[in-house]
Symmetry: C2
Subunit: 384 residues, 2 copies
């Protein structure tokens, strides 16, 4: 039985077939929305290409079309992106995690849902869907990337990460079942990743179709796809990729993004070594303005993702709103795990999805959660 | 169905009924063999008394009498004994761990096996057996206590800790399945305990009856019982408890123990705070000799258990051989988690069981494993 049979079973006749070009566009868009985190798109892409090259089909379904009672889950990588770059996955690891989750649940997984927009975790959900012969649903749990397992619209809408299965590439398995305690699930999953050597592959957030519709960021894949397409077109047609990106967001999500800065990286302070920093890419970056921003300074903190932007000491963006640093010519995102002194880029700010901006969302992944003594102020107010 | 029905099913007609007096003697003996670790016997005893007071029966069976194909497992506490003293268990936690292990295995657990000789983990295996209505088998995995999950005769004889279920008293569950990688199982189980707040309750070492016979320390419970009885009798009859203990060991195990020192604790250096010390009671103790040892100095390192004894700088006992510091009047063990400046005691050394002294055993829990640049020399040679 393949993904098309499952869709036929559900009475769904419309779906999108994801080919190499599509997954490339989706992954580019997702890595832009990943706000500096989400890992190396090459890793996720190569894996997805391999699945397609083996003749497996990948299809995406509209969340409005899925039955309420189906069982779905999210396949993902959890750990420090920096480690992942040195230790790319074997193709069996996510399959093992998904199979072990099915066994623990006593139910088969009938579709995958990406956990976030990220260079790794977006395509991984497609690759896993292709491997398992199930569809991908056009949703995710963030419409951005975030460093911790519990930082999802799923949790803010009452759906939990447990049970989560965490595996490594040697076939080791950890099943984490903490009921409604998603912070403890994150804590255990992070420790398992560290015990494995820095990186783990998880099958997480098992939920029903009803939960998907009630708690996900709906059409998150379409948004990433539109963003990726816009930037690709800009490259082909020599248009301003930042401009095309902002237009695509307005068209697809109805939200306005902001250009906040243009500059080059003049200082990077990475934090290593302490227990809290293990399992994350952590630190701070200073950018010196160029062109119309000459004489100004931008300062960004990061924990896998960009967290907070200050321009000339003034706060311009706070979590969960999105910060992307993009190459001004290509629109390619500059990532926290690989950025270097001298990199140049334009900082773009994007309002978080409304399902991430609930009171519970601000509590779980707003500024105070990340240690800032600041109330959350929406990015459109900070840049109005 | 109760433990007696299970035994009848196996065609076993001989077994020992464990009452309050028996469990008290076994636990005293086990806490002496626990070499300074193993936790507070009061915690394990109170739990076992409660099970008996509820009218549940606890019976112990000879390992020679169990069928080869039965499924057994070890219920235990894993974490820092110091935390346990502050956070005694709810009675449901071990049951939850055992039930979750049964579900993961897809087979019921038909008997319990204590993991070690310890004030907590010995009686816990009896309490769990009583709760579950299954017998305890007269074996364990160490015939002493040791700080880490993989430090068992089971591992040295090819039986593995996976799958291990780790739970906390709020009902959180972690299933650890690392195949033959017992060091990683320990690493994951230790991290789970830390995530839970320092203490976890585990169901571990699922194995068959055949494995029990081939890899356990056979009659470990009888040895602990004999030691406990001897010391109790010494107290009642005002005999030297150390003398009675050594005689009981010679009788029950056919091994000779040694009096190595008598003194009082004059310095305790505990290590806290670093990641490696979390989840353990770690440090070093200095004792000043009294009576015939006046003018001499003993130095002991500990990691939950006493690891290494040096008298006047000369090594006198190395792991896996046993070091006990016992109150000279009562035979009560002095534990690493509660010892204080000024405590007085006699140091007794006991050869480890031969199933712990294999080449693989010395590799897994000999001096070099604990960071000593020393080859293992049996305690009888060091004190010959």
């Amino acid at each position: 039985m393949g993904a098309r049979d499952i869709l036929a079973d559900w009475g769904v006749r419309e779906f999108r077939v994801i080919d190499r070009a599509a997954i490339q566009e989706i992954t580019l868009g997702a890595s832009i929305l990943a706000t500096g985190g989400g890992g190396d798109p090459e890793i996720g892409l190569l894996w997805t290409y391999k699945v397609l090259d083996e003749g497996k089909e990948i299809v995406m379904v509209d969340p409005a079309d899925i039955p309420d009672e189906i069982q779905v889950a999210s396949p993902a990588c959890l750990g420090a992106a920096l480690v992942l770059t040195e230790k790319p996955p074997a193709s069996e690891v996510i399959n093992l995690a998904m199979r072990k989750l099915e066994r623990y649940l006593g139910r088969p997984i009938q579709a995958t849902i990406p956990i976030e927009c990220g260079g790794v975790n977006s395509p991984v959900a497609y690759a896993a869907a292709g491997e398992l012969g199930v569809p991908v649903i056009d949703v995710d749990g963030m419409n951005r990337a975030f460093p911790e397992l519990q930082m999802t619209s799923w949790v803010t809408h009452g759906v939990h990460a447990s049970p989560t299965v965490s595996v490594d590439d040697r076939g080791n398995v950890t099943v984490i079942d903490t009921g409604e305690d998603d912070l403890l699930a994150e804590n255990l999953a992070r420790r398992a990743a560290m015990a494995y050597g820095g990186i783990s592959w998880i099958a997480t957030y098992p939920m029903t179709g009803r939960d998907v519709k009630g708690s996900s960021i709906l059409y998150s894949q379409s948004i990433a796809w539109a963003v990726g397409k816009a930037v690709m077109r800009a490259r082909r047609e020599h248009l301003d990729p930042i401009e095309e990106l902002l237009k695509s967001l307005l068209r697809e999500r109805g939200v306005e993004g902001f250009r906040a800065f243009k500059g080059k990286i003049v200082d990077i302070r990475r934090e290593f070594g302490s227990e809290t920093t293990k399992g994350f890419t952590l630190g701070k970056v200073i950018m010196e303005g160029i062109d119309e921003y000459r004489g100004h300074t931008a300062e960004l903190d990061f924990q896998n993702e960009w967290l907070n932007l200050r321009v000339d000491g003034e706060v311009r963006c706070l979590p969960p709103d999105l910060i992307a640093i993009l190459d001004s010519e290509t629109g390619e995102p500059i990532r926290t795990d690989i950025m270097k002194y001298g990199y140049r880029g334009t900082i773009v700010l994007i309002p978080a999805h409304e399902r991430m901006r609930t009171e519970r969302g601000i509590e779980l992944f707003g500024p105070r959660h990340f240690g800032y003594e600041l109330d959350y102020v929406p990015v459109e107010e900070l840049n109005g």
